[in-house]
């Protein structure tokens, strides 16, 4: 039973679950407010933004690349929605205008991703360079369009999307879980998901097997861009405003969350489930520290320490496992 569970989930998910339980146990001793609905409610509200951005980062990393433009893509997509709303009457704009804006935002995000994928695939330039250039371009463009300021004054239902809930589940969390489900199916069961792993391990061998790797790369980055747009819309609804640079601190945290979730930094290996667990652990750590009265910057420092600890543990676990194997 245990063995079967282990085989199904993999050691990564199991290890992270143990870690999660340990973290929760420690905090519930340290603070009697930890195991309360209010605390989990705040985790549930904070998780989606970072979570959706991490999903946007996950796909390129699995394919052996990186997307440094996720935040600026999210910002520019949110600006698209804001622009459509403003043109249609600002606070008086209707739901139709919002939906149109959201659709356009997804297209803008997808287009930004497609461009990165196309340049990477055709020129063979490293995705770090391509996405860095895209990040700077989009950020500059956004700052030019907004003159560096905030855009706000949206209809009331926008804030309701950011803070409302359905059957007691916060709306952003529902969006996030839907995105997780889509990514899970994409990576586990579709051709493109399969190709993403293969491209990440060895793109030339994948091409020799008859896979159109250029097309695969373009699709991977396009989907990453679309996911950024979703994150941008969720952030916009939460803050009830749009500003270029919103969420910039998340950029490297998404990379951290992927590695924490056992994703191979060089591509080819990694699972949605373990990345989701890693995200929950990070969020619980920060809300637990918050309850203990620690300041925000400390919780960032703890995240860093946590990643180092996980790497050391993983190394030790691997060594132990190999020794055990060597003996039998």
């Amino acid at each position: 039973m245990m063995e079967e569970l282990k085989a199904r989930l993999g050691p990564e998910v199991l290890g992270l679950t143990v870690f999660l339980l340990a973290v929760m146990l420690v905090f519930s001793f340290l603070s009697d407010r930890f195991l309360t609905a209010a605390n989990f409610g705040s985790v549930a509200v904070q998780l989606p933004e970072l979570g959706i951005l991490t999903l946007a980062m996950l796909l390129p990393i699995l394919s052996g690349g990186l997307n440094l433009a996720i935040i600026s893509t999210a910002n520019i997509s949110a600006l698209t929605v804001a622009w459509v709303l403003q043109v249609n009457g600002g606070p008086e704009a209707g739901m139709g205008a919002f939906l149109l804006g959201a659709a356009l935002a997804l297209a803008v995000g997808g287009a930004a991703g497609f461009l990165m994928g196309a340049v990477t695939a055709i020129s063979g330039a490293h995705p770090i360079l391509v996405s860095l250039a895209m990040m700077i371009f989009l950020r500059g463009l956004g700052e030019y369009l907004t003159r560096g300021g905030d855009i706000s004054g949206f209809p009331d239902f926008v804030a309701a999307i950011g803070h409302g809930s359905l059957f007691g589940i916060p709306a952003p969390l529902i969006v996030f879980l839907a995105c997780v489900a889509v990514w899970q199916i994409l990576l586990g069961r579709t051709r493109l998901g399969f190709f993403t792993y293969m491209v990440g391990s060895n793109i030339e061998a994948t091409r020799y097997s008859g896979v159109d790797t250029k097309r695969a790369l373009m699709l991977i980055y396009t989907l990453s861009g679309v996911m950024c747009a979703i994150a941008g819309i969720v952030m916009m609804a939460r803050f009830n405003s749009v500003r270029v640079g919103h969420g910039e601190a998340y950029l490297l945290i998404t990379v951290l969350a992927c590695f924490l979730g056992g994703v191979d930094p060089f591509g080819g290996f990694g699972r949605v489930a373990s990345v989701l667990l890693a995200l929950v652990i990070l969020q619980i750590l920060s809300s637990g520290l918050n309850l203990l009265g620690a300041n925000q910057h400390l919780s960032t420092a703890v995240w860093g320490l946590f990643l180092i600890a996980v790497m050391v543990l993983r190394f030790g676990w691997k060594r132990w496992f190999e020794r055990k194997r060597g003996k039998t």
Binding site: I185, T190, R191, F194, S201, N202, A205, Y208, G210, K327
Partner: protein, 500 residues
């Protein structure tokens, strides 16, 4: 007699055993190399060749009871430093050089080793490098960064580095694995001149032809035991194969007459500038057509065009009588063409990924139900091919890299056979496959031909093509320069034409 041979030897190892976790990797092996001799160490993967090298150079320590003499000095357990001081050097397959440093720095770097920091004498380094390169008769810019050099030149840098340390014996581990024929010839030339100047060379190679050409004696290992030491005078490839594997191979010509069968592939005047020219050939249903020739003859390039990876400049490709023009290898695969690459490690398989994923990569379309990959259909596909080709695996979830060369090649065959091809292009299908496992690969290939598959067999080993193909073409300089029927030609004739 062994005592006599050992006298004056540059390296004499006697009664050497090595146990790894209960497994005897070497069992009472003796190995002697005399000054200036070119000696070959032969054996299949896992026979203990590299363990011998590692014990002689102090990387491993032999089990107690071994007797090792280097340059007449009894050494209980050589350490890497001691072995180097006594004149033993190794050129590993991966060369162990510094790609970002210059030629001179790479050659002179050992002078900088030691506990105390020393200033780097660039001028002396360059002079040393120039002197050693001159001794090898090679013109190389000492200031060129190593990474700008092709692999063959880098190898020469590695040899030069060994000579700076006044090596008396150089081990070369698979030195020709990534060289073209011309580069190999040049390397063998250097080996001969080293030998003439009194430096002994121990050659470890899979390519039996060059082993026999360059060395004067061969020590054969099998399963960690010494089979014997033989002079290469009068030794043949098939005799050596038998010694290495302990099996005799059915080396009868397998050619059949397939001239009545309908043609599957016809090439008419196929040309791609700088690669191959005016290629005319026909492969019929169920026929194995062999193409042999030296590396660089344009064989692999032709294979790439047939597989849709490159486009010909002129000429026509007909598949089942219909002209085809592939714009990608995806189109070629859909039209029924499969290509087994000569480079299994980096192109044939995705080494870190699982056996199951490697096998299903080419036929993902067929595993879909309602647009999603069906795990059940995937595992039944994998099970089917593992059984069909008798692949020895742990579980399908294991990385393909965990398999032996022969079993990996079976996975490559399986992934292409799953696409139900009509034409199978095999580019050097036995590279990195143990001699003993080759027979199994060819048994599969012949069975496929019996079932009606048209096969193009490309190989630089003339005997392989001679014994397995129905007809043989000789390619050189991008052109087909000879047609042979194995039933009407002797192997010696073919080898003479190809290698002379």
């Amino acid at each position: 007699m062994a005592e006599q041979a050992a006298r004056g030897a540059v390296l004499a190892m006697r009664g050497v055993s090595k146990t790894f976790g209960g497994v005897k990797a070497l069992n009472d092996v003796s190995f002697t190399v005399r000054p200036g001799e070119v000696h070959c160490l032969a054996g299949e993967n896992g026979s203990g060749k590299s363990t011998v090298i590692k014990i002689a150079t102090g990387v491993y320590t032999a089990d107690p009871g071994a007797d090792i003499e280097i340059a007449g000095q009894s050494v209980a357990a050589p350490t890497p430093g001691l072995a180097r001081r006594l004149g033993i050097a190794v050129i590993w397959q991966d060369l162990a050089l510094f790609p970002e440093m210059t030629v001179a720095e790479n050659i002179g770097f050992e002078a900088l080793l030691g506990a105390r920091p020393k200033p780097v004498a660039r001028k002396r380094m360059r002079e040393t490098a120039a002197r050693v390169l001159a001794r090898l008769g090679v013109a190389l810019d000492p200031d060129a960064p190593l990474r700008s050099l092709p692999i063959a030149k880098r190898q020469i840098v590695a040899i030069a580095r060994a000579l700076v340390g006044e090596a008396r014996l150089i081990f070369m581990d698979e030195p020709t694995a990534s060289l073209t024929q011309a580069e190999t010839d040049h390397l063998l030339e250097i080996v001969r001149s080293l030998s003439a100047s009194g430096v002994a060379v121990v050659f470890v190679s899979h390519r039996l032809a060059e082993v026999l050409e360059v060395s004067s004696a061969v020590t054969v290992l099998r399963d960690g035991r010494l089979v014997g030491v033989f002079p290469t005078e009068g030794m043949t490839q098939s005799k050596l194969t038998e010694l290495m594997t302990g099996q005799t191979f059915d080396s009868a010509v397998a050619a059949r007459d397939r001239s009545a069968a309908p043609p599957v592939l016809e090439l008419k005047g196929l040309t791609r500038e700088g690669e191959y020219a005016d290629i005319e050939l026909t492969i019929r249903k169920g026929e194995i057509l062999g193409i042999t020739g030296l590396i660089g003859a344009g064989r692999t390039e032709l294979g790439h065009t047939l597989f849709g990876m490159t486009r010909p400049d002129r000429g026509e490709i007909r598949l089942d009588g219909k002209p085809v023009r592939f714009r990608s290898n995806g189109q070629a695969i859909r039209a029924g063409v499969s290509y087994v690459s000569e480079d299994r490690l980096s192109l044939g398989l995705i080494q870190p990924q699982s056996i199951a994923d490697n096998l299903s990569l080419t036929v993902l379309d067929r595993l879909l139900t309602a647009g999603l990959i069906s795990p059940a259909r995937k595992s039944s596909l994998v099970d089917h091919w593992i059984r069909e080709l008798a692949v020895k695996i742990g579980t399908p979830a294991d990385a393909v890299a965990t398999l032996s060369g022969g079993n990996q090649q079976r996975i490559v065959l399986a992934k292409w056979l799953a696409t139900e091809p009509r034409l199978l292009v095999l580019d050097a299908p036995t590279v990195g496959v143990d001699v003993g496992a080759r027979a199994g690969i060819f048994a599969i290939i012949r069975r496929l031909a019996e079932q009606g598959l048209a096969i193009l067999l490309i190989s630089d080993e003339a005997p392989e093509v001679y014994f397995n193909a129905d007809r043989v073409l000789h390619m050189a300089g991008g052109r087909i320069i000879g047609h042979y029927d194995p039933r009407a030609t002797s192997l010696a004739e073919l080898e003479q034409a190809v290698y002379a």
